[in-house]
């Protein structure tokens, strides 16, 4: 399945997704994170098109670990668990997304950071 990758700046992400996303056209797949090392993380918001074969769009923004990331839940309510998963797994801060979806207080923190 080919991916159409759209690289955006994190500060433009909400505007870009607001322009792009129509809930009756695009199916929201997930939010993903990939640790790039050197204190940077790539965040991805991924969508597929209803009723069309092999059409997947991936919005990608690279940010620093400590940057506060805006939430897309106001636009895509179902993103709430994906955002909480990213918070647990990568230790980034997403507005309104609470820690503790998967990890207990005494468990390993930020397990998907490459330095850990």
């Amino acid at each position: 399945m080919p991916i159409r990758k759209v690289e955006i700046r994190l500060e433009d992400m909400l505007d870009e997704l607001t322009t792009f996303y129509d809930a009756k056209v695009w199916h929201f797949l997930t939010v993903n994170g990939i640790d790039l090392g050197d204190g940077k993380i790539e965040l991805q918001w991924i969508f597929s098109k209803y009723g069309v074969k092999d059409e997947t769009v991936l919005f990608s923004a690279v940010t620093a670990y400590e940057t506060k990331v805006p939430s897309v839940v106001s636009l895509i309510p179902s993103a709430t668990l994906s955002e909480r998963e990213i918070v647990d797994m990568f230790g980034v801060e997403i507005e309104g997304a609470a820690k503790g979806l998967y990890l207990d207080e005494d468990s390993l923190t930020m397990p998907l950071r490459c330095s850990l």
């Binding site: 199916h27 797949l29 991924i46 209803y50 009723g51 179902s78 998907l112």
Partner: protein, 361 residues
């Protein structure tokens, strides 16, 4: 006078097969707010896939995400890696893989229907459906060597072929199963406790299905016509009799009907697959190391299973992202609970067919 009460359901509860906790806020008996905690069985599989196991072994690791739909996990991962290696399987391999996925769908849907019957008070019917399900489990065991957690899919093909004797056995068991499903359809359509009682209960409207990104039978029961089998060109589903099944009422009854009709469609597809198996090798040599980033979607029994795999020609992958159907469906589930009677919560939950092993991975 309205009385607001907080009632937890789970993490251990008689109606739950796996640990999940819902925190219901009820006004008298009506649920007005829902919280969900899904992470009780997190095993760190994504981390293991990129740091503990080399890419050639990861297919066997992801098959352990879920016992029921192991085949779709190993298939999704394998498809992703094969694409990164520039390999496309021959038609025989594609047909054998489709066969296992559809058999998986039949037994998974039957398990869900068994639990729905149990929730309606039909314990004998639960046992009867589970006994009938053995017809499919026997086929899966004969093909793959395992009843669950099959390591059947391999990079470059599948591990075992379907012999003429197996073809006969598959025909015999599916012929035996079909009238049993017809009988179940009759019961789920006409028995008061399984049909009328569940009509209008646990409704997810079409608009809500769009807003909350419902998927799989949950979405199709609400009239949202989405199915990865129709939205991906990885497998020739149109050649084996695939038909998208959907209903419109979005309630428990509709979800039961979608699953029953999908079982019948999957039986037809399995028969067409074994009757028209193309010739060719069942496994081919694939060379190289994965490089690049790829997305794969496969229609698992509960809905769309998503894998993102990123590699850079090393023995360990940079990232394996797994998004499972139940994980995606939880926001829609929480919406359905709102406005429902608390007494209906176990039945509604069973009709979602949740898999917490997949969700927490």
């Amino acid at each position: 006078m309205k009385k607001v009460v907080n009632i937890p359901l789970g993490s251990q509860h008689i109606s739950l097969l796996e640990p999940i906790r819902f925190q219901f806020t009820t006004e008298n008996e009506k649920i007005i707010e829902v919280g969900a905690d899904v992470g009780f069985v997190h095993r760190g599989i994504e981390k293991a896939c990129s740091e503990t196991f080399e890419w050639k072994k990861v297919g066997y690791v992801v098959a352990r995400v879920c016992g029921l739909c192991a085949i779709t996990h190993s298939l999704s991962y394998t498809l992703a890696v094969e694409r990164l290696l520039g390999y496309e399987a021959n038609e025989r391999i594609k047909y054998l893989r489709m066969l296992m996925v559809e058999l998986d769908r039949i037994h998974s849907h039957m398990l869900c229907l068994a639990h729905v019957s149990e929730n309606a008070g039909f314990e004998a019917m639960f046992m009867q459906i589970m006994a009938d399900r053995e017809l499919v489990m026997d086929i899966q065991e004969a093909i793959s060597g395992n009843r669950v957690q099959f390591d059947y899919i391999a990079i470059g093909g599948v591990n075992r072929d379907v012999t003429p004797e197996l073809v006969n056995m598959i025909h015999k068991n599916l012929d035996e199963l079909r009238p049993k499903i017809d009988d179940l359809m009759e019961r789920f359509s006409n028995n008061w406790s399984l049909s009328l009682k569940y009509k209008g209960v646990g409704v997810l409207t079409l608009d809500e299905a769009y807003i909350y990104n419902a998927l799989g039978p949950l979405a199709r029961a609400s009239g949202l016509k989405t199915d990865v089998r129709a939205e991906s060109s990885d497998f020739p589903y149109e050649d084996v009799g695939y038909e998208m099944i959907f209903e419109s009422s979005g309630d428990i009854y509709a979800r039961n009907m979608v699953r029953l009709r999908e079982i019948i469609n999957s039986i037809t597809m399995c028969e067409n697959i074994i009757d028209n198996l193309p010739t060719g090798e069942i496994i081919e040599k694939v060379k190289g190391k994965p490089e690049g980033e790829v997305v794969v979607r496969v229609e698992a029994p509960r809905g769309e299973l998503f894998y993102l795999v990123k590699g850079s020609r090393k023995n360990f992958l940079d990232r394996v992202r797994i998004k499972t159907p139940t994980f995606s469906a939880i926001p829609a589930m929480m919406e359905v609970f709102k406005g429902s009677e608390y007494a209906d919560a176990p039945a509604i939950l069973a009709s979602f067919d949740p898999c917490m092993s997949c969700t927490a991975k």
